[in-house]
Symmetry: C2
Subunit: 530 residues, 2 copies
């Protein structure tokens, strides 16, 4: 491919990418293995023309894509794309390098520090987490990587704290090593039963135990009392809690943990057990953190310095920055570099040695890095504070309209959690005729079971029809579990009308499922009568 | 930014990115902190025009970039960019999603499997590592992430193997838990002193010990005898080796470990100690793996099935695919998913449950993923097998010319390692007049010390002048250490003439440094005479 061919191909790609921003289709009907049928194996001996390749993108790749930018994409959490976001990745590609240290390309490191300080101010994150002091921010690929980094740093800090105590106790090196091994086996990372599963995965990677703290069904937010109970229970059993993921906007229901009471609980625990390792508390705001740009949420981060060692939110979810751009902040960057820094000869240079520059590789799992701050810089400057706020508000407005429709339709629906951060979580009621016949009525286990069955059927059918894309989820476990539908519309183009349309589609599907249920019910009754 | 503005801005970015491909400048003179001086803090209240932003890219960002695509970039290892590679990332941005499972966008998962099987055939990786059997490939961000994944999977496999044995021994659950803790404390991950430092970092992340195996100075490749010695020594001391990084093309000198004898050594160890956990052996071919596309190297991977559980190489180094695209292959994908899979309710779906689809999140550290296989697909199709081979050969030819010039200039230079995979590692000799005056002549410690001093001065001055960019490195430790200059030219546009030019620049710098050294020397002699 020569230069004119590249420019032509790139311009066509730009046009296609622009058209994609306004697509309203969302799911794909491609069955598992569809692509293997379409693409012959192997690499051609001689290069192919771009026309061939481009034809395949349209004919073979695009039919297998889910369109996350569609206003009808209401599943999972969003993965916003935007014009300045795309441009950021375009320049990042043009400036390709493997920026594993400052010297690799000074602009990559320096812009990241500047942009993350700006974003910290945008979400009202206190000075403790800015780069001017002992803290600072770093762009991770995903919120799950941020949690791995936090868990590993927390584990090493906990061990280091215990070692400091043992150092005063006249132990041999072997005895200390032995105690470290025993301690590792007792360390417990914690998260509520609503926290993202990536805390469990991070604990697996770090090679330590993980336990959940149960929240109350219907509330779903972790409280200080629950934390205290778990910490004291573990301590009494000789185990050593050292890490806790708290959440601002949980994945199942967007619940927010009770930071104030958790902060008090942690303080009380450490006062009662002064030699226990300090518990590293992480605030996972992967999705909902974007809402902190709105004045009405800006009191929340003011609490963080009283308990939070680290905080993370994804600009690539609800803040118009193409995947991936996860902004992680720590109160003490030394905690990260103590756990993750190694500097062999071929990575040494006068700049890193001088301590004047940041080598972000020591703040993350991988060595190499891309120039991800460019897209965050373009997005924040292009939209400005007001433009970003307007985008976040639009999703909140759509969700509020959806909530209102659900609340008005008590025959079909029930909200299973308080709507928050543009997420509605609803379950579908059984056909009205059926409810009266169930043992115990609405209070009985039969009713709950029927709700779960009907909700699952509705969710599956809505997704199969593919006009909109929603996520079925399960809250709680066993007999008490609740099957529900998550609806969150926060794509850049989403409007109130799109959420109203989604409500209509779901309602119609409920009617269709009900009709079938009732027909089966009647057939069964008739059969039993015969 | 509206659609026409976006198209205009994107087209300008394309032009800029095209121009960047032919730039010959490489280093930047930006001092630490340069960007903070240029960019006012904060995000504007209202959005800015793209003109403003674009002006800043040129005026503030570009002066702080190191140009990795320049033919004068001879440092580290390359990070190739290419037209089809840039297009791949452009489409990936256009199709933005967070593809953490198959359902998120089926094409993302399916193309990755197809492309990695194609690449496996391209580098002659045996069937054991293809997806049709029990193995398969996955795109990681970096070779260092691949090593983290391998170490974690290896650790969990080692523990599982021991647990299986303990399960037959009538132990209580507490006793088994206790043994697991003890075992964790004894597990040792291994790599040679030439293996990349990311094995040590991976061990830190996984929370287990790391030890190096020493190679012989001047040879730098790990042998079976060295492996046997280390394994038996650890075993005798009650420690449990469970993982080994072997290298095809080490970072300091591009040495390749002796796979055949290592394979024999591992077999002998397991025969002698049948209950010891099976040692997971990883082949790290991060840079040099690209050379496996050439027929003359294709016998190498045929050895892998006899010992290698995993293999990784970066298409983003020497194979024209923009950073990041690290191709990792395993012999048994279950080993990865056993260690990294968790599936909460909101990630469950009929496709994943059916086992018909691959959820690559269970093969890696992060949850979300980008559509990275697109660029590898574009690159392999656009260049074809012959085009890729021609690119790799061009770097080998340039390096061979450089080697010849070094070998011909025995007054100024010495090769400190056998040139391999387009990498030359040389040291600079002291001024000829000085050598005779040193105690012990060329065999003495004084000579080696002077070589190190002169080499460091030459490397620093070459980089400060900035016409070319090279990496100084240190081989070995303490008294025996050798300071050397690494020269590797494998940018897409590099030609034999560029390496000849680099040799000329380095030679001229040697002359300048020699002249200064001699002047100082003479002044000292005169001073002593007075």
């Amino acid at each position: 491919m020569d230069s004119p061919q590249f420019r032509q191909a790139a311009h066509a790609a730009i046009d296609q990418s622009d058209n994609g921003q306004s697509s309203t289709t969302t799911t794909t009907s491609a069955p598992p293995g569809y692509l293997r049928e379409l693409i012959p194996p192997g690499i051609p001996e001689d290069g192919e023309s771009w026309e061939n390749i481009q034809r395949d993108i349209e004919a073979k790749i695009m039919p297998g894509l889910t369109h996350w930018q569609s206003p009808n994409f209401l599943a999972f959490f969003p993965a916003n794309s935007s014009y300045p976001g795309i441009l950021g990745d375009l320049y990042s590609g043009a400036f390709t390098c493997a920026a594993f240290n400052w010297q690799c390309s000074p602009a990559v490191t320096e812009l990241e520090t500047i942009v993350l300080d700006n974003v910290a101010r945008l979400i009202n994150l206190p000075e403790e987490y800015h780069s001017a002091g002992e803290g600072g921010g770093v762009i991770q690929g995903t919120a799950s990587e941020a949690i791995v980094v936090a868990v590993v740093a927390a584990r090493d800090r906990a061990i280091a704290q215990s070692k400091e105590i043992w150092a005063t106790q006249n132990l041999t090196e072997d005895e200390i090593e032995d105690r470290v091994c025993t301690l590792r086996g007792k360390l417990v990372a914690l998260g509520s039963d609503q926290a993202h599963s990536s805390t469990k995965k991070a604990a697996m990677i770090a090679g330590i135990r993980f336990q959940t703290i149960s929240t109350v069904m219907g509330e779903y937010s972790l409280t200080g009392a629950q934390v205290t109970h778990k910490l004291e229970d573990l301590h009494a059993r000789g185990l050593v809690p050292f890490y806790l993921t708290t959440t601002l906007g949980t994945t199942p229901t967007c619940a927010t943990d009770d930071f104030a009471s958790i902060s008090t609980a942690l303080l009380a625990y450490h006062t009662a057990h002064p030699t226990a390792p300090k518990i590293w508390t992480h605030v996972d705001a992967a999705y909902a953190g974007a809402a902190l740009i709105l004045p009405e949420y800006q009191h929340i981060p003011l609490l963080f310095p009283s308990f939070a060692d680290s905080f993370d939110f994804n600009m690539h979810k609800w803040l118009l920055t193409n995947f991936d751009c996860s902004c992680m902040y720590v109160r003490r960057r030394r905690d990260l570099t103590d756990a993750l820094s190694i500097t062999p000869a071929y990575l040494r240079n006068e700049y890193s040695d001088s301590g004047l520059v940041t080598d972000y590789r020591d703040w993350q799992v991988p060595l190499g890095r891309r120039f991800r701050s460019l897209k965050a810089w373009f997005v924040t400057r292009s939209y400005g504070v007001q433009g970003l706020r307007a985008h976040v508000r639009k999703a909140l407005d759509g969700a509020a309209a959806f909530t209102q429709l659900v609340r008005a339709d008590t025959v079909r629906f029930e909200l299973v959690a308080e709507p928050a951060f543009a997420l509605n979580v609803v379950r579908v009621r059984p056909p009205p005729g059926v409810v009266g016949q169930l043992e115990g009525g609405e209070a009985g286990a039969g009713f709950a079971r029927r709700c779960n069955e009907v909700t699952k059927k509705v969710a599956d059918r809505v997704n199969k029809e593919g006009k909109i894309f929603i996520t079925p989820t399960v809250l709680g476990h066993g007999e008490e579990s609740i099957t529900a539908i998550r609806v969150v519309g926060a794509a850049p183009g989403v409007q109130v009308a799109d959420l109203e349309n989604a409500f209509r589609i779901i309602s119609e599907t409920v009617d269709a499922v009900w009709a079938e249920e009732t027909a089966v019910e009647e057939a069964t009754v008739e059969l039993q009568a015969v």
